[in-house]
Symmetry: C2
Subunit: 362 residues, 2 copies
Amino acid sequence: MGRSTMRDVSRAVGLSMFTVSQALSGAVGVSEESRQRVLKTARELGYIPNRAAQELRRANRDSVAVITASTSNSYYLDLMSGIQQALRPSNWTVVVGDVAVDGAYDERLEDRMVQRLIESRMAGVISTLTLRPENAELLASWDIPVVFVDSSPPENAKNFPSVTTDNYNASLVVGQHLADHGYKDWLLLVYPAKWSTRFDRERGLVEAARRHGAELVVLESENDAVSAHSTLAAYLDRAGRLPHVLIAGNNPLLLGALKLLRERSITIPADIAVVGYDEFAWAPLLDPPLTVLNERSEEIGRRAAQTLAGIIEAQAEAEKQGQSKSPLYRPEYQQQVAAELVIRKSCGCGHAHQPGIPKVTP
Amino acid sequence: MGRSTMRDVSRAVGLSMFTVSQALSGAVGVSEESRQRVLKTARELGYIPNRAAQELRRANRDSVAVITASTSNSYYLDLMSGIQQALRPSNWTVVVGDVAVDGAYDERLEDRMVQRLIESRMAGVISTLTLRPENAELLASWDIPVVFVDSSPPENAKNFPSVTTDNYNASLVVGQHLADHGYKDWLLLVYPAKWSTRFDRERGLVEAARRHGAELVVLESENDAVSAHSTLAAYLDRAGRLPHVLIAGNNPLLLGALKLLRERSITIPADIAVVGYDEFAWAPLLDPPLTVLNERSEEIGRRAAQTLAGIIEAQAEAEKQGQSKSPLYRPEYQQQVAAELVIRKSCGCGHAHQPGIPKVTP
DNA sequence: CAAGGCTTCATAATCGTTTAGGTAAGTAAC
DNA sequence: GTTACTTACCTAAACGATTATGAAGCCTTG
């Protein structure tokens, strides 16, 4: 039991390794009788192929990597679920590589991770963060296709595929809703630009504020709850008054902000309205139920995986025909998924007393 | 740039492949001058080793796998973080394999996953669920060490290492607290026995109920929020009255239960007290703040990884000395981590009107 | 019945590393 | 000056699969 090679099977069954290989891989050119004998012997011997040997010899790989910087964000679970769903039928292995240490993104870890992925000659990469230009280039020079999710390609690789929320329009929707409430004084608590979704989220909100004649303050914090808490605390102390509404750039920041508001007994939405950017399971159960954007991460994951699979397939096809094996990126690979605003209570809806200028509840 | 082999480096630098290999791997027996020349050439050529070739040739592998059945549980993130933390220094690759499809555990997927792990000749496995006996045996026959986290080893592998919460005592603590509140009518909403933590959680609660003269009903649901919701709804309809307290076996079930209570406008803790089994970031912000057990998943992950690393190391040592390479499992590898009860409001603490027999708030 | 086409299987090269088993030169010991 | 030991390097055999090339046997077919 265990630890037998194809040679062992070959000897035991009295057929050449060629025949055994063909039989096991389900190829044609082997008689049904031989195939059955091979399969039986292999089972009896407990033969399990050595993947390293297969990969070394074979041209095409069958693993794709997902690069994350776990901001302990649970949207990541949905994303993975979508990716797995799309890739399961094709029977590919998905490995996830985290480039965060203690919850914080680490540049050297990203370098090491990319190095590793190339060492393993991955078939493709899905990245949840904008890679460093060097790394994008490196992957490109090894003809490994990359799809960005919820992040934009780096400067030197603008044509790389990406699947993101339509953050700009999402922000416009948020802004519209805030304006409907009559809020004029907005505070956006946001993560650093390293996470490139920030750009469109902020841009949309700036535009919305302009359109509706509202004042928008952008407050940057590190991308975790603890930083969000202290950054916001410092800001509120400095400002000496509450804005009408707080918009949290993502869930870790939302968490930090809500903790602070609770500590200071600031009630939502009476004293300040709150809107978040990521839907999550507990949102309807919080106090008050939170109004958030639904990013549909699962859909994003699914699309990203499908896009990647398509590229890899095309790549294999091209190589078979002797053409360049570098991945072909079509413009339509850059997709945006519309988000919807899930309106609950924290924005002030269904609440009589609202922060700022009181107005009719929409 | 890209795609050069060690042979290319060897030719370019004018040294044998042996020397190049030695130089790159940092082994002794190469002059400093040669090493520098090799390194420089390798860098210029953009040489990146082929891991498949390395793994094929090398005796020892350097990847460990984590098997999960994503119950979309966010405790999983903490667990991974702990594992990564413990394994990062040793520079090992961690791959996670999910054996759930659409959030539900799938037996055939488990089989396929184990097959895959053996194909890749993994150095070790950390499993968050009790594996099927066949699979445990299979891994054992390939001398691949397995550590179970938050789950017990299967029947045929009782001696396998495991790191779990001390669920029995945790349940006693919960029971004690409920008794302090004067609750006599307990309802435990719990997942199927496939997740083996159920056994001790239930056993502890049964014992606590006996000690304190309370009535305990155990209600089993599938391991997801939707099932929990419908199972609980059906039960409440049948029972026609509310228990004094609802204990949710884990977070997905808690989520489903809370949704139902909210739908039916049952208020916590006035109408029914609620206690959960997994601490999570949003717990203090819910309405009301939830009383839950803190499992300390990160600590569990860390310990599991350390245990696994120790076993693999010992295994390598034993093999070097010509002894059996099958992993050695010491009894003390079975560890339990104490959980603490984080008391907030949902249990009735700090609330005047309590469900059931009113008593002094402890 | 010769020629050609299938079907079924075998031989052996190949993938890109690591490493056991050398060798040649230089140094130290006696 | 021989012997013994180091140091720095090389040659070539693995590792365990896939697959290009081809051969033997049998079946058609004109």
